[in-house]
Structures are given as structure tokens and as C-alpha cells.
């Protein structure tokens, strides 16, 4: 009788206590995080975008996405289309549509929403690097010769065609520069063949704050490295882009159309 009672008690404790054991799995399926919440969009970003656009949207090889000015200026539909279809001829792959293992359109819409809502928040009163200049490149716009003059005045210090031509080139130690802002040519024909005109315009308008490159608002550097506060206007942006584009097929002369992406 007593033994039976003890057994019963033991079983009750065992069965009743089961719910408190550490091995009991958490509620499952783990709640699916909607893509337009911060966590949801960041998870997709980490999986699909971070490789090129950088951890947390900055300091990747490709343009940073944690850029409120940029995200606010580009229409969501454009962001969606670029992400879904990629940019042919550049290294931006398609992530939706008929890509291998595509992101469904509805998820992609929410992803864009999540990204703009999270990283695209402009702080009130903060100056915009783009000065509100239009984001879109208009083919044929701008004047290359005017662009050349602007480039000489504001860009060439950091983007010399040849490192040796830079004012920051360290003659005592060949191959080195004294200023970390000096990074190299943007009129390299090979570089220009790998990027779209829109990429050039976006780079001029929005800059790359994560790497220290200013947007249209400046400040820039004069050829001898002094600060130039005067910003670019919309016309100057178009001229600069036209100037850079003019180098694309310069050397070697044969233009390449083929894109060798897998």
C-alpha cells in the first residue's frame, strides 16, 4: 500500500515535472519572422546581401545600404526591381524572379520595406550628402569637357589616374601615399566597364560615407589636398558622370559586351 503510494507520487512528479525539464523543445515551428520587421529583413540581408554590401550594410565592397539619404531617394519600386532582377553587366545578381532559389516577390517587397524603414530613417535637421539632387542617371546628359574641369578641381586628389601623379604620393617611399583618402582611379577603363552609369551617378551623388567619400554636398579636396567646401550642383554631377563615362572605351579600344558571370 505504502509502496504503491510512493510509486504513484513519484510518477506524478515525473510526469508533472516533465514540462520544466530543460530538454523540452521551445514552441515550434519557430515563429516565422516577417521580412519587413527589423529582424526579418536583417536576416535576409545577412544571407543574401552582406557578402557584397557589407555586414550591417556598411563597409562592403559594394555600395553601402545603411545610407538613409540613398534609401529615401531611390523609389522603393526601383530598389525592388534592382534586387529582383539584378543589374545585367554588373556584379549585382538577381535575387528574385527566375534566379536559382529566388526570393518570392512578396517577401522581397517586405524586405525592401524593412530595409528602408530601418536603415532609411533620416535624422531631422541633418544635411543630406545628396543635397536632394535627382538620383536617376539620364543617358546622354552632361558635358564631359565641363566635367573634366570639375574633376580636376575636386576629385583628382583622391582619384588620381596614376598614383604617382597624386600630390599625396610619398616620393621617399615608393608605392605609398601619405593620405588614406587617396584611393585610386575612377577613370580606369576596366573599372568603368564593370559598373553601370547609374553606379557612377549614385557614387557622385551619395558618396560612400563608410569609406570617407563625400556625396554631392562635399567637402572635396583641391589637387593639393586642401578642403574645398563648395558643393556640386545637379549639372556638375551630370558633367562628372559624362566625363567618367567618356573613358570607358578608351583603352584598350575594343569594347567588351560579354559578362562572364556564372
Amino acid at each position: 500500500m505504502r509502496l504503491g503510494l510512493i510509486c504513484l507520487l513519484g510518477t506524478t512528479v515525473l510526469v508533472g515535472g516533465c514540462n520544466d525539464l530543460p530538454g523540452k523543445p521551445p514552441p515550434n515551428p519557430a515563429p516565422v519572422i516577417p521580412a519587413n520587421t527589423s529582424a526579418g529583413f536583417e536576416a535576409i540581408y545577412a544571407e543574401r546581401c552582406a557578402g557584397c554590401h557589407g555586414n550591417n550594410g556598411v563597409l562592403g565592397a559594394a555600395r553601402p545600404m545603411r545610407d538613409a539619404d540613398y534609401l529615401q531617394s531611390i523609389p522603393r519600386e526601383t530598389l525592388f526591381a534592382v534586387t529582383r532582377n539584378g543589374v545585367p553587366g554588373t556584379r549585382m545578381p538577381q535575387m528574385g524572379g527566375d534566379a536559382v532559389d529566388p526570393i518570392p516577390d512578396d517577401v522581397l517587397h517586405k524586405f525592401i520595406e524593412g530595409m528602408v524603414d530601418t536603415w532609411g530613417v533620416l535624422k531631422p535637421g541633418e544635411p543630406r550628402p545628396s543635397r536632394g539632387i535627382a538620383w536617376k542617371h539620364v543617358p546622354g546628359s552632361g558635358d564631359a569637357s565641363r566635367g573634366a574641369a570639375i574633376f580636376e578641381a575636386k576629385c583628382v586628389y583622391c582619384h588620381p589616374a596614376q598614383m604617382k601623379a597624386s600630390a599625396a604620393y610619398d616620393l621617399d617611399r615608393p608605392g605609398t601615399v601619405t593620405d588614406p583618402l587617396v584611393v585610386g582611379s575612377v577613370v580606369d577603363p576596366f573599372y568603368l566597364r564593370l559598373v553601370s552609369d547609374q553606379h557612377l551617378r549614385s557614387s557622385v551623388v551619395y558618396g560612400r560615407a563608410d569609406l570617407g567619400m563625400p556625396g554631392a554636398a562635399g567637402p572635396f579636396r583641391s589637387p593639393d589636398g586642401k578642403e574645398v567646401a563648395e558643393p556640386l550642383d545637379a549639372e556638375a554631377v551630370a558633367d562628372l558622370v559624362a566625363y567618367m563615362i567618356s573613358f570607358r572605351d578608351e583603352w584598350p579600344t575594343r569594347a567588351e559586351k560579354k559578362d562572364g558571370a556564372p
Partner: protein
């Protein structure tokens, strides 16, 4: 305590008609060597875990729905709604692992003591078949979870059979029940997991135990007492008669103590760590999946990752039959002679080598990217220090490195494949021209990418690679790290403290 009269009479009647009780008593009280001590408990523990598998497995089949649409949700139902259901799954999963581990320990002990020699050759062969059955049960059981890991395991398994010459496609269709992983695949593996393999296991265990009873439990090996088929049986029976003890209770006592302890450990582990999976649903919209096989099979995937590509197919197809054939043939290769490990150094060396290799490969499987990470090119970032102070062309090269999925085989910043060399210091080893040639023409294990990349893409890639000097290590060969004439070079910032 005496049995009531009607009970003993019923027992006598049943025994008279069936012979069951006599047979059981024969098995219970058969004499075993006195020195058969704790070394011999592992086989019994393996059997106990199998019985736990059977009991929990049967209970699980009453709850599990073997259909592709509902398998996953039925697991969730078992975990959440069925009282103690998660514990049932945890016990089933962990006892499966425990059974495999016990089985391997048992096999090791048998191998080490040379127990497979005359007259127990067929006991060993039956044991080898049981080992395969058990591993097959573990693998098919993993498929039952029908989560992304199951998909992954199946996909790799299918890819392996697919490589068989001529019959690969046909074999794949047989394994998967069609060209692809589908509902038919689950039904097929369900049938294997709950009917065919357990049936085979029960039959083989019966055979194995029958043979153990027939030939007796082996004595501890004694150096200088080799197995001679002419005299072995007589000597064994004489010794057992003189010094042996009845299996029950003398030897069974140790088995029971060990099995009891193992059972407690099993329940503890199951309660603490819970059931395996189910992992994420295999669904492209659910992200952050890093599929991985169960620990037992990790070593296979490490092997897959480490095999040189041109030998892979051959070794994958020829390896398992050779290994299994060797295991099964072992008692016929060496049926007589010394049993003591101290007199069989070669066997000990082989055993140590196998155990070490499996252990190391399992650890590698845990840590190494044992198969290409399909998301590596979009998820593994370029290290920030390789992005800073790079020219626009070099940044495009960094993008090309991601885009062409170079990191499936090469790592930078410690992330990426291990098949090719890490690229962090590639600029110190190869000059600009050598980099171009390596990319365009391939060489070593690397395919030629000349036809797949435009000259601008190669240029950008080489421009980026030629900046990877592992924090300004000196060049290892003449000409390395020198920019191509007339091309721009990566600026090195002279004063590092001035960097932002």
C-alpha cells in the same frame, strides 16, 4: 518462495508443448567464463538501446504521419501537444545515437580481443551486417524528421549514388522514388525505417545471439594461448565446465548494472538536451539554414570535402564495398592464432588508426565547411580591412570574387572553402602575371576561368588579389606585389596612424 501449484502446472504444460521455458532456462543458466568481466557488457547495452528504440519507435509510429505534407507538423504536434511526446522523441533519437556508440565500442572490444577468430567467425559477420543495419536505421531515421537537414542528407546521398557509372540515374530513382526528393521518397524511407530495417535487425540480432549461445562467450584473451581449431572447442568446454559460472545471475548482474546506469544516463541526456530537430522546414523563404548531418555521419561529409576531386567518384563508390568487404572477411583472413592484443600489434595499429581517423574527421566535419556553402557568395562578407583603402577597380575585383563564387574553394579572412589555398597572402606568392595566368588557365586543382571572365573582370580580380599581402608581408618570390606596368597600384598608406 514456492510457486503456487496451478502456476507451476501451467508452466510445465506450456514447456511441454513449446519447449520455450527450457530454452530460456538454457540460455539463462548457460555457463560463461569466470573472467568475463566488465569488458563484456557493451553488447548487452547495445541490445538494451535497441529495445528502447523498438518501444519508443512503435509508440512514435502511432503519432507520426508519414506524408510529405504532414510529417513536419506531426512532429511539432508530438513535441507540443502530446504529453511527454517530446521526451519520447528525445529518447528515440538519443538511444539511436547511444546504440551506435555502444555498437562501435562493442565491435572495438571484439576486434581488440580477437574474439572473431574460430569458431565465432559467423557471429562477427552477423555483427557486421547488424552494424550496417543500425547505421542505415540511423540515416533513415534522420530522414523521418523531414526538415531541411533531412533534405540535405538525402540530397547528398542521392548525389553519391548518382555517380555510379551507367546505373547511377536508375539507382537514384530507386532511392528517391523518382528523379527528385518528393513525397514518394518519404514513404520509401518510412517503409525502410519502420518495417524493413527493424525486421532485418531483429532477425540478425536473433542470429547473433543464437551464435553467441552456440559457441559460448569467449574468454579473456591470454598471451601465448593461440586459437587452434583442432583443439579449441574441447579445451573451451572443459574449462567452462570446471571454472565457468552460470550467465544468470553471475554475469547478467554486471550487464544489468551497466545497462541500468546507461539507461539513467540516456534519460538524463534526453531530458536535458531534448529531441533532435525538427530543424527548419525546407523552404526557400525561411532563411538562416545551415544544414548538417547528424554527428554519426559528419565524418563522411568531411571525407567528401577533403577528397581530391579527381578521385572522389572512384573512392565514393569503391570505398564502402571495400571497407565492408574487409570487415566481413576479417575472421576469414585471420581465423586462428593469438588473440591477445599484446601479440597482435598490427591489429592494434589498425584500430588506433581507424579510431583516430574517424575522430579527426568527425571533428573536421563539425568545423570545416565540408561541402560548398551555397550562400557563401552572398553571405560571407569581404573582410573590412580588405575594403578600406582600395581603389574602385579593386573593389570591383572584390565583388567579382564574391560573384564568381571563388570562395566556394578559397577563403579570405578565414571564411570560405578549403579546397584551394587561402587568398589572404596570395599577392606575396604570385606576381600580377602569374595571377592572370592562374585565373585564365587554371592549374593544380583549379579550373580555367579564361572563357568565363571578361578581361575587365580578370583585371579587377587581379587588382584586388594583388592587394592581399597579409598585412604587408614581404614578397616571397621576385616580382610578386609589383603592379602591372602602366596600371594603377594599390596605394599603401604610409602613416598607418593617419588612417580613419
Amino acid at each position: 518462495m514456492r510457486m503456487p501449484r496451478f502456476l507451476s502446472r501451467s508452466a510445465a504444460m506450456i514447456d511441454d508443448r513449446t519447449g520455450l521455458i527450457t530454452a530460456t532456462q538454457g540460455a539463462m543458466y548457460h555457463r560463461v567464463p569466470r573472467n568475463a568481466k566488465w569488458w563484456y557488457v557493451f553488447g548487452s547495452a547495445t541490445l538494451m538501446f535497441f529495445i528502447i528504440q523498438l518501444v519508443t519507435g512503435v509508440l512514435l509510429t502511432t503519432l507520426y504521419v508519414p506524408s510529405a505534407a504532414e510529417a513536419y507538423s506531426s512532429l511539432v504536434y508530438i513535441d507540443e501537444k502530446v504529453p511527454g511526446g517530446w521526451m519520447l522523441r528525445a529518447l528515440h533519437g538519443w538511444s539511436s545515437n547511444a546504440m551506435c556508440v555502444m555498437m562501435l565500442i562493442h565491435m572495438t572490444q571484439v576486434f581488440l580481443h580477437g574474439t572473431y577468430k574460430y569458431p565465432r567467425e559467423l557471429t562477427w559477420v552477423a555483427g557486421t551486417l547488424l552494424c550496417l543495419t543500425t547505421l542505415a536505421l540511423a540515416f533513415t531515421g534522420q530522414v523521418m524528421r523531414w526538415d531541411s537537414n533531412a533534405y540535405w542528407g538525402l540530397g547528398i546521398g542521392a548525389a553519391i549514388v548518382d555517380r555510379a557509372p551507367f546505373i547511377g540515374n536508375w539507382l537514384r530513382a530507386i532511392v528517391l522514388g523518382g528523379p527528385d526528393i518528393s513525397g514518394a521518397t518519404l514513404s520509401r524511407f518510412f517503409a525502410l525505417h519502420v518495417f524493413i530495417l527493424p525486421g532485418a535487425a531483429i532477425a540478425l540480432i536473433g542470429l547473433h545471439l543464437m551464435l553467441v549461445l552456440k559457441n559460448g562467450i569467449s574468454e579473456m584473451p591470454k598471451p601465448g594461448a593461440p586459437v587452434e581449431p583442432e583443439t579449441y572447442r574441447e579445451e573451451y568446454h572443459a574449462r567452462i565446465k570446471k571454472t565457468g559460472v552460470p550467465f544468470f545471475p553471475d554475469a547478467a548482474r554486471r550487464d544489468m548494472v551497466f545497462c541500468g546506469a546507461m539507461l539513467i544516463v540516456l534519460i538524463g541526456i534526453a531530458a536535458w538536451f531534448g529531441p533532435f530537430g525538427p530543424g527548419p522546414v525546407p523552404d526557400p523563404t525561411i532563411i538562416e539554414v545551415s544544414p548538417k548531418p547528424d554527428t554519426l555521419f559528419l565524418w563522411i561529409f568531411a571525407v567528401l570535402a577533403l577528397l581530391p576531386p579527381n578521385t572522389e567518384t572512384f573512392l565514393l563508390l569503391a570505398g564502402p564495398p571495400v571497407i565492408i568487404g574487409f570487415l566481413a572477411a576479417l575472421p576469414f583472413i585471420s581465423p586462428t592464432g593469438e588473440r591477445a592484443p599484446s601479440r597482435r600489434p598490427l591489429s592494434v595499429v589498425i584500430l588506433v588508426a581507424i579510431v583516430t581517423a574517424l575522430g579527426v574527421l568527425t571533428v573536421l566535419g563539425e568545423y570545416e565547411p565540408w561541402s560548398p556553402r551555397m550562400r557563401a557568395w552572398t553571405s560571407d562578407t569581404t573582410p573590412v580591412e580588405y575594403v578600406k583603402h582600395r581603389s574602385p577597380l579593386e573593389l570591383q575585383g572584390a565583388l567579382q570574387l564574391q560573384y564568381a563564387q571563388c570562395r566556394n574553394c578559397h577563403s579570405i579572412g578565414g571564411i570560405g572553402g578549403k579546397r584551394g589555398p587561402a587568398l589572404d597572402a596570395v599577392a606575396t606568392r604570385l606576381s600580377w602575371d602569374q595571377l592572370v595566368r592562374q585565373i585564365q588557365q587554371g592549374g593544380g586543382n583549379m579550373p580555367a576561368y579564361g572563357k568565363n571572365l571578361s578581361s575587365a573582370e580578370v583585371e579587377a580580380l587581379v587588382a584586388f588579389l594583388s592587394t592581399l599581402d597579409d598585412q604587408a608581408q614581404p614578397a616571397l618570390i621576385p616580382g610578386a606585389m609589383e603592379a602591372q606596368p602602366a596600371r594603377d597600384e594599390s596605394p599603401t598608406v604610409a602613416d598607418a596612424s593617419a588612417a580613419p
